[in-house]
């Protein structure tokens, strides 16, 4: 290219860029609200794809039911949602309401980023919540005596199993063992290995400490006095149970097996659908996934049995909840939307939303709504999870201001015990040390009293 051509090319390129800039800014036409007279309620959430469609449907229903408020929903990528929220609050322009599932209530409440929802409730609404909400709903949303998060869908875990595989192994699928120890024994009968002792089929491969500790009567938090309880005989027994099964299967064997599982999207990315595991533990949302991806699969659900002498219907839960930030422009409108979705004051209407998302209800009144009962009749496997809701032994992540840190440390503890790099005692003591260190650090820095 000679110099003249080069100059011409540069000029043309600059011209094109300038024209594009003009076109770009010309296209920025502000869209008006559909209902100008109504007050705008800004709602942020992290749902995407088919879940976003469900959210949009609920928002649409709310807007149709209203002549005072109009909710505007915005889906924010999960990876940046917390930064966006915190900047919004600190910069003075937060949303009015946000749906969350991250462990944020204690730290954000301590940092005064959240509005207590009990400040927005009428006495009658507060009484309705106190009297009717399931125990686990209160555990998830409450912090230091205030309600900061209103549940709009609880997640519970239960057993999923394939009766055919049990029958083939000579196990009666109608009579699963009543204890975890018994379950471990039938798991061994279902495991399959090749000639080189590589795992080729997993019978029962439990892994998550938080899910199993309550089944041994353990857990990381004493709800009565608000104290962390880490190294206890029950917690140790739970970790020994998980590590014992992993040791028998071979630490690396399970890692290799899991890495090789077929994550085919035709099976919704869940290897249980392909029969890669006979008995597993998972959340209620899998019922909907199985309906979609494997409608003809014969499977059943059941509560996870306790350890010998442990409490029944125990386990761990988390969920989706609504928060109202400090400085929200219209907290009353936000509360109106939260009430509508959660079904606190109109369970019959909200029951339908819970069926759209395959969510567990907030109160027994929602579970008893005709539309929810019809849903349970259609998907009887879902009933197992609804039956867990009244249980007082369902635990949640301890409501401490260092929840995120705790969550990471539990993961590390679990990993070291299940990989065999530490004994269960060492792993639990490691967690205790890390948590004690964090508590002291926070006190020294003046975060906690």
């Amino acid at each position: 290219m000679d110099e003249r051509a080069s100059i011409n090319f540069g000029r043309i390129l600059t011209g094109v860029i300038v024209l594009f800039v003009v076109a770009f800014w010309g296209a920025q036409i502000q869209e008006q609200h559909r209902h100008v007279a109504r007050k705008k309620v800004r709602f942020w959430h992290m749902w995407t794809a088919e879940w976003k469609d469900v959210v949009d449907k609920i928002v649409d229903r709310f807007n149709k039911s209203q002549d005072e408020y109009e909710v505007e929903a915005l889906s924010v990528p999960g990876s940046g949602s917390d930064s966006k929220f915190i900047l919004g609050v600190m910069g003075g322009d937060p949303p009015d309401v946000m749906a969350q599932w991250n462990p944020i209530i204690p730290p954000w409440a301590d940092d005064h980023l959240l509005t207590p929802l009990d400040d927005l409730m009428t006495p009658a609404e507060k009484k309705a919540f106190d009297d009717q909400a399931y125990p686990v709903v209160k555990k998830i949303g409450m912090y230091r005596g205030h309600l900061y998060g209103m549940s709009i869908g609880i997640n519970m875990s239960a057993l999923y199993y394939l009766p055919k595989q049990l029958r083939d192994a000579g196990i009666d699928p109608d009579h699963l063992p009543a204890t975890l120890e018994g379950l471990a024994k039938i798991g061994e009968r279902l495991d399959r290995f090749d000639s080189q002792r590589n795992l080729t089929h997993l019978g029962w491969g439990p892994a998550t400490f938080s899910e199993f500790a309550p089944l041994f009567g353990g857990g990381l938090y004493e709800w009565q006095n608000g104290k962390m309880t880490i190294v206890t005989p029950q917690n140790l027994a739970a970790l020994q149970y998980l590590a014992g099964i992993r040791k028998k299967l071979g630490y690396d064997n399970v890692v290799r097996y899991n890495a090789g599982l077929d994550m085919n999207s035709a099976s919704g990315g869940w290897p249980f659908i392909d029969g890669a595991m006979s008995i597993t533990i998972d959340g209620q949302w899998r019922v909907e996934q199985l309906r979609k991806y494997a409608p003809t699969l014969e499977y059943r659900t059941a509560p996870v049995p306790p350890a010998a002498g442990g409490p029944t219907l125990a386990g761990v839960s988390n969920g989706n909840f609504m928060i109202v930030p400090s400085g929200a422009k219209d907290p009353i409108g936000a509360w109106a939307f939260i009430k509508f979705w959660s079904g606190l004051t109109d369970p019959d209407t909200a029951a339908e939303f819970y069926t759209w998302g395959g969510w567990l209800p907030l109160t027994p009144a929602i579970a008893q709504a005709p539309i929810y009962k019809a849903y349970l009749k259609k998907y009887p496997q879902f009933q197992t999870f609804v039956d867990l809701m009244p249980s007082k032994t369902i635990s949640v992540l301890p409501p401490v201001p260092y929840q995120e840190f705790l969550s990471d440390q539990i993961g590390k503890m679990e990993d070291s015990a299940l990989r065999g790099t530490k004994t269960p005692e060492q792993a639990l003591n490691g967690l205790l040390f890390a948590v004690d260190h964090e508590i002291s650090r926070r006190k020294e820095l003046g975060y906690d009293r």
Partner: protein, 298 residues
Amino acid sequence: MTARRGRNRRRLELQSLSPMQRVSVHVALLVLCMPALLPFIWMVSTSLKLDKDIYGSGKAGAAGLSLSSLIPHPMHFQNYPEALKTVPFGTYVFNSLGLCATTILAAVASSALVAYGFGRIQFKGRDFWFMVMISTMALPGQVTMIPQFTLFRWLGWYGTYLPLTIPSLAGAPFYIFLLTQFFRTIPMEMAESARLDGANEWTIFCRIVLPLAKPALATCALFQFLGAWNDFMGPLIYINDPKMDTLAYGLQQFYSSYDGKWAQLMAAATLFTLPIIVLFFFAQKTFIQGVATTGGRN
């Protein structure tokens, strides 16, 4: 002239090697390129596979990465139209290009003006202010995030593209530094001659300095393009309308929505990367020239 001479010298140096030595040099270079190339090859290869073929289908263990595993068989081109259907790719591209074009024009023009002052005009405290300007580069983005957000909200810019574009008009410290270095290499005598002919500073800047600084300006433009194209945090924080989302933001949304659909995700990522590769391919000579002529002098 100098560049051509350099190229000829390199060609001569290569020709002086024996065929065996030449092959060895190329093999060594190829091996050194692998850490950078492999992720890209994996991305393109995965974008042409079915999800079930990505990890191998053996239940006894993952297939691992091998040369044969990088060759998709069969080729599944359908991932591309499916990825394009899943998100409003056209809207994202338009918005990203709009922001890129605006910020390129704004950042390059404003930085060149400031750099001209630092590089070509003597004034009291010049070195001090230059150091102050340089030191702002050391400020991490997280430190300025909250005050910036508060300021833009106060100005009523929240929810618009203005916070993502207007700051470019104030110049970017890195480009100012780069261009200052370049402007200092242009002989002062040229400006003196122009002044004798009656040219003022603006004329010298536009008619003499800018045409000579094309490689450096192109380098700044390319850096700005990369920055704006890949920017995720800016749109995340300031944009509240899905119709205004950019490609980097959309790709993150895509990842959240279709976690597990790796083939489609890689197809979207390939499309996202493509403009950068094309741009670098066409602009690499100017880019390298720009960096080479600004990096070595003070």
